[in-house]
Amino acid sequence: MRKVIGRVSFLLIMMLVLGACSSDNSSSEGSAGEGDGSGKKVTAWAWNINVPVLEEAAKKFKEENPDFELEVVELGREDVYSKLTTGLQTGGKGLPDIILVEDDRVQGYMETFPDAFVNVSDKGFDESKDSFPTYKTELLSKDGAMYGFPFDGGPTGVFYRTDYFEEAGVNADDIKTWDDFIEAGKKIKDATGKAMLGLDLNGDDGLYRMMMTQQGTFYFDDEKNVNFTSEESKQASEKVKMMKEAGLVKDTVGWDAWISAMAQGEVATAPSGAWLSGSITQQAKDTEGNWGVFKLPAFEEDGNRASNLGGSNYVITSASNNQDLAYDFMEFFSTNDDVQLTAMDNGLFPTLNTIYENEAFTQEVSFFSNQPIWELFASEMNDIPSVNFTGNYAIASDESIKAQSEIMNGKKSIEEAYKAAEDRLKNRIQ
């Protein structure tokens, strides 16, 4: 009996000891993650390709501020939002000083949690406002003040296979409107048998979003009203439908299938953000030298050819105890040319416009048939219209994809599908 009690209590004690030492050493390491402002240390959350940029910036910042220390916690992109939402729900607990948030999410957080992020205009960031495109600064503004630092952008273009275009006798320079694009697609299909582009018709509406932005609007108009039944929406959807009906679309379900279609040479083009270049160069190594880029076709001759897809921004959390230091570092990070050029090396397209004259932008890129593609993307930046993502972006996107799927499967006409989607969305927003 005694023996047993002895054994049990020994076990219990072991557990307690183990538990205690595990929480001991971890809490000392973990304190930084809770942003308790221990002197000169700043913590940041970001996902993979952004980490080297932050670290490089920290190294440079340290030259002036020797005590400064940056801890980057590497997270998956979606995981950042899970943690950020949980933290904000509980009043900022466990949040770091700096967080990377994408364009399409940031307004949602600013609306749902108005006090979540630090007003950077108050701290003097307005001085640097002109160094960024308006669509970015407006995205981060609320009541005339900015709540974040613009970082990378996704100026759009059509990535295309130069060899297929040549084989079909199509000149990329002649594609000026979406109608030209569809005509070219037909020629390429006849000559090479390849689809013009891959789209996830039932799962993503990226092309529709690019087309909406291109026309200066989005799921929501300037007054934040649902915009599905607008003329712009109809035009965009019509073009996508025409592509589908002309047999130019390869249905690629999900991101991997889309990239895979490019790697295997099954599609001739991919309209997307500048960041796609990174994926193509990495995943489709065999096709080096057979790619080029032209700007998104316009809706009418001489119409706007600039648009945006994706991009991200840094914010400072109000829960941070080290806001001033975090601000100083982020201001340095955002406006330092050398730091932003490091971003280029990691496949990110900086929105800081003071660096566009740099050699990194004017150089010819061998993967893309020696075309200076970065120059092309940079030239779009000032023409990208600002649009309203609002806090309802996620559910709007959901409804938009449903509508697109109904149209492409021939279940409903464009008008019917978007009217229904608009009604459903209004119902969900209340």
Partner: protein, 299 residues
């Protein structure tokens, strides 16, 4: 897991076939049937093993090979490269240690908690017993999303964020394990307990020296289940852990998923490594596990 189920399925099939053959000596027809049976089983075998094989292919090849047509079906020579890259990205040893430590500790404590709870619910009579048991079962219906934020708030109030303890604490009392163990404890002969009592054994002693040893198979089954639950646990560790050196395997793997560029070589290598301990754990307890299943079947 699926693989082992196949094995069990196969053995039971063999048994029934043998039995039938004894009864009806229509051998030819039976043989033909067996051929069909084995063809079908082989198909299932391939279907269940192929994902693992594909994972291994991915782990030994360059990321771009995942997208070629026709697909790469042979192991490549990038095993070491992927391993080194993965180690640079997430620090394999630290992450493996975290996961093993958290899961191991969890199994030990949770098993102790759940077994005691199950024993009481199975073998003692007291007021409110049914209510407590129903409450346990009903709590299985609460989705974890609903408890995520309150639990996070609690951990933060206790100052436990970013600790191993925070990872395992909320699930220590695991309703399904309690249910599983209770059903098994019910089958334990009460007479044995009574005679032990007559011999002067205390209640604790009965539980530890008499009931527990004969319940090994059930405990093995429960611990495999608990281990897997904790090993694969993603959302909760993600939310409570705040530094890369505290990450468990699933959380660290997820940090490889960025925006546009994902190195599948690293991801597949990581998944391969994450599968090994589960297989090892299962193989160690397999004997107990299967003898438990057969044992209860023969009763």
């Amino acid at each position: 897991m699926a693989k082992n189920l196949d094995v069990i399925e196969q053995t039971t099939n063999e048994l029934t076939l043998a039995e039938r053959q004894q009864k009806k000596p229509k051998r030819k027809k039976k043989k033909l049937k067996a051929v069909w049976m084995y063809t079908l089983l082989s198909i299932f075998l391939v279907v269940s093993i192929f994902p693992f094989y594909w994972m291994f292919i991915g782990a030994t090849n360059d990321s771009s090979k995942m997208f070629t047509n026709p697909p790469t079906l042979l192991p490549g020579d990038q095993f070491m490269t992927n391993l080194t890259n993965l180690n640079e990205s997430i620090g394999i040893f630290r992450v493996l240690f975290n996961s093993l430590f958290v899961s191991g500790l969890y199994v030990v404590i949770a098993l102790a908690v759940c077994a005691s709870a199950a024993y009481v619910l199975a073998k003692y009579n007291f007021k409110g017993k049914k209510f407590i048991f129903t409450a346990f079962l009903l709590s299985m219906m609460i989705p974890y999303q609903a408890t995520l934020i309150p639990l996070f708030q609690m951990m933060s109030d206790f100052n436990l964020l970013n600790t191993y303890f925070a990872v395992i604490a909320p699930q220590l009392c695991f309703p399904f394990a309690i249910f599983l163990l209770r059903q098994n404890f019910l089958a334990f002969p009460t007479e044995l307990m009574e005679s032990a009592r007559l011999d002067g054994a205390s209640e604790t002693r009965i539980f530890i020296s008499i009931v527990i040893p004969s319940m090994r198979p059930a405990l093995a089954a429960a611990s495999i289940f608990l281990f897997m639950t904790q090993w694969n646990n993603f959302m909760w560790p993600l939310v409570v852990l705040n530094t890369n050196d505290m990450y468990t395997f699933p959380v660290a793997l997820s940090s490889l998923m960025g925006l546009s560029y994902i190195d599948y070589g690293q991801v597949m290598m990581g998944v391969t490594l994450a599968t090994v301990p589960i297989i090892a754990f299962f193989l160690t307890l397999q004997k107990q596990f299967i003898s438990g299943m057969l044992g209860s079947a023969l009763k």
